[in-house]
């Protein structure tokens, strides 16, 4: 029994705020060695553009407004009682670079959006804010009497194909088993469980 527990030494070194983090894959490899690891899972998203010098990985900028879930709605008919998510990528409400959508998520409505590649602006412009309010209005939020509670801009890790593989080159050089899992684009929360299982398989095979 005691031996069985001893064989499960899951002691971990928690460090989830490293500021700028690693500067290169070599630093990650060194840190893995320093921590007595024999494997490395690289799940750094857009960070891999720098860490792995991956030119195929770019940021897909998205902007959002958040409205409270119980905010005022434009629906006159009170018998309409259920929230729905609405997504539009066709004109006139949306386009593939400026989709219009509302997603009920927890205690907020998330209203989007944009999909701008290689745009690194971290703040919302006045025009973007205006268009998002218009989207909210089109999709049923009464923007004449309700205001957003917060706003957000971020960058999807966009890549032609997800990089999910054993890194043969660095694995043999470093004697670590290195697995990459990054570039899930706008589908992180759609793929995260399957991606995690595949990394575990690649590490354990």
């Amino acid at each position: 029994m005691l031996n069985e527990i001893k064989r499960h030494p899951l002691v971990t070194n928690v460090n989830v705020e490293m500021g700028n983090g690693y500067q290169s894959i070599d630093e990650m490899i060194q840190d893995a060695h320093d921590n007595g690891c024999d494997a490395l899972a690289n799940c750094t998203g857009l960070g891999s553009a720098k860490l792995c010098k991956d030119e195929n990985l770019i940021g897909g900028r998205g902007v959002l407004l958040h409205y409270e879930r119980n905010c005022d709605r434009k629906i006159d008919d009170e018998s309409m009682e259920h929230d729905a998510a609405i997504l539009v990528e066709d004109a006139p409400w949306g386009s593939s670079t400026d989709p219009a959508y509302v997603i009920p998520r927890g205690n907020v409505f998330v209203v989007g959006g944009t999909y701008y590649e290689n745009n690194t602006e971290t703040k919302l412009s006045e025009n973007e804010r205006k268009r998002l309010v218009e989207n909210a209005d089109l999709l049923g939020i009464d923007t004449s009497i309700t205001s957003p509670v917060s706003e957000w801009a971020g960058f999807r890790p966009v890549r032609q194909t997800v990089r999910m593989e054993i890194d043969e080159k660095f694995s043999s050089e470093s004697k670590l088993r290195i697995v990459h899992s990054y570039g899930h684009g706008g589908s992180g929360w759609t793929t995260y469980v399957g991606a995690a299982k595949e990394v575990a398989e690649l590490l354990c095979s």
């Binding site: 690891c37 690289n42 899992s181 995260y192």
Partner: protein
């Protein structure tokens, strides 16, 4: 077989990978440039709607199915306790100005053998169901996916009672068709928090255990 893994990154991909390894009793070290609950990160801000989007990699059919399995399971377990679910199944509407679905034309050379082969393979290729142009994921029965005209949507909504723009407004804007399906939506910030707490809990428990043993 890895005996100890350095996991770098603590967004939804990194955190879930860390948990997957811990659940398999593989020790890990987790490092990240940003805290998992840093509101600036992509995972934190994301809408959390399950729908393969802007991701052209064919392998995501399998990854997204695994994810759908887990999210549906969480949602079923949560149904007993009504307050603040981590996963909510939400009727979702995707409006289009053209048909974008299967037509009679697509099934002109329909071969039942192909149809069943595609289904068995998890709907590989550009779409399942004969030569349907719809993506493969739309065939998963749990999503109750329907391809409708705006009029059909209007009829259904007399029963569904969804808060959506009126049929006239959608038609005036030129929208003729809609996808209607029921995907899970993850409360992204809370799911990150719960995953991070699970991670801390396992770490702490193990540290304590090791201290007791030495």
């Amino acid at each position: 077989m890895a005996s100890k893994v350095l996991v770098v990154g603590s967004g939804c991909i990194g955190l879930r990978t860390a948990l997957e390894l811990l659940r398999k009793n593989i020790p890990i070290v987790l490092k990240s440039a940003h805290h998992p609950l840093d509101p600036k990160t992509c995972s934190f801000g994301a809408g959390g709607l399950w729908m393969p989007y802007k991701c052209t990699d064919k392998r995501i059919d399998k990854w997204s199915k695994d994810t759908l399995d887990e999210l549906m399971q969480i949602s079923t377990l949560e149904k007993k306790e009504k307050n603040e679910p981590l996963v909510e199944i939400v009727p979702t509407l995707y409006l289009t100005k053209s048909h974008k679905g299967p037509t009679v034309e697509d099934f002109k050379n329909f071969d039942a053998k192909d149809y069943f082969q595609q289904e068995a393979g998890g709907g590989g290729g550009g779409g399942g169901g004969g030569k349907s142009p719809l993506p493969a994921w739309t065939q998963d029965s749990r999503l109750a996916f329907q391809h409708l005209t705006i009029d059909m949507l209007g009829w259904q909504n007399q029963v569904l009672k969804l808060k959506i723009p009126s049929i006239d407004v959608m038609k005036d804007a030129g929208y003729t068709h809609a996808w209607l399906f029921r995907p899970p939506i993850v409360d992204a910030p809370r799911m990150l928090m719960v995953s991070f707490v699970e991670y801390l809990f396992i770490s702490l428990k193990t540290k304590l255990m090791n201290r007791l043993l030495t």
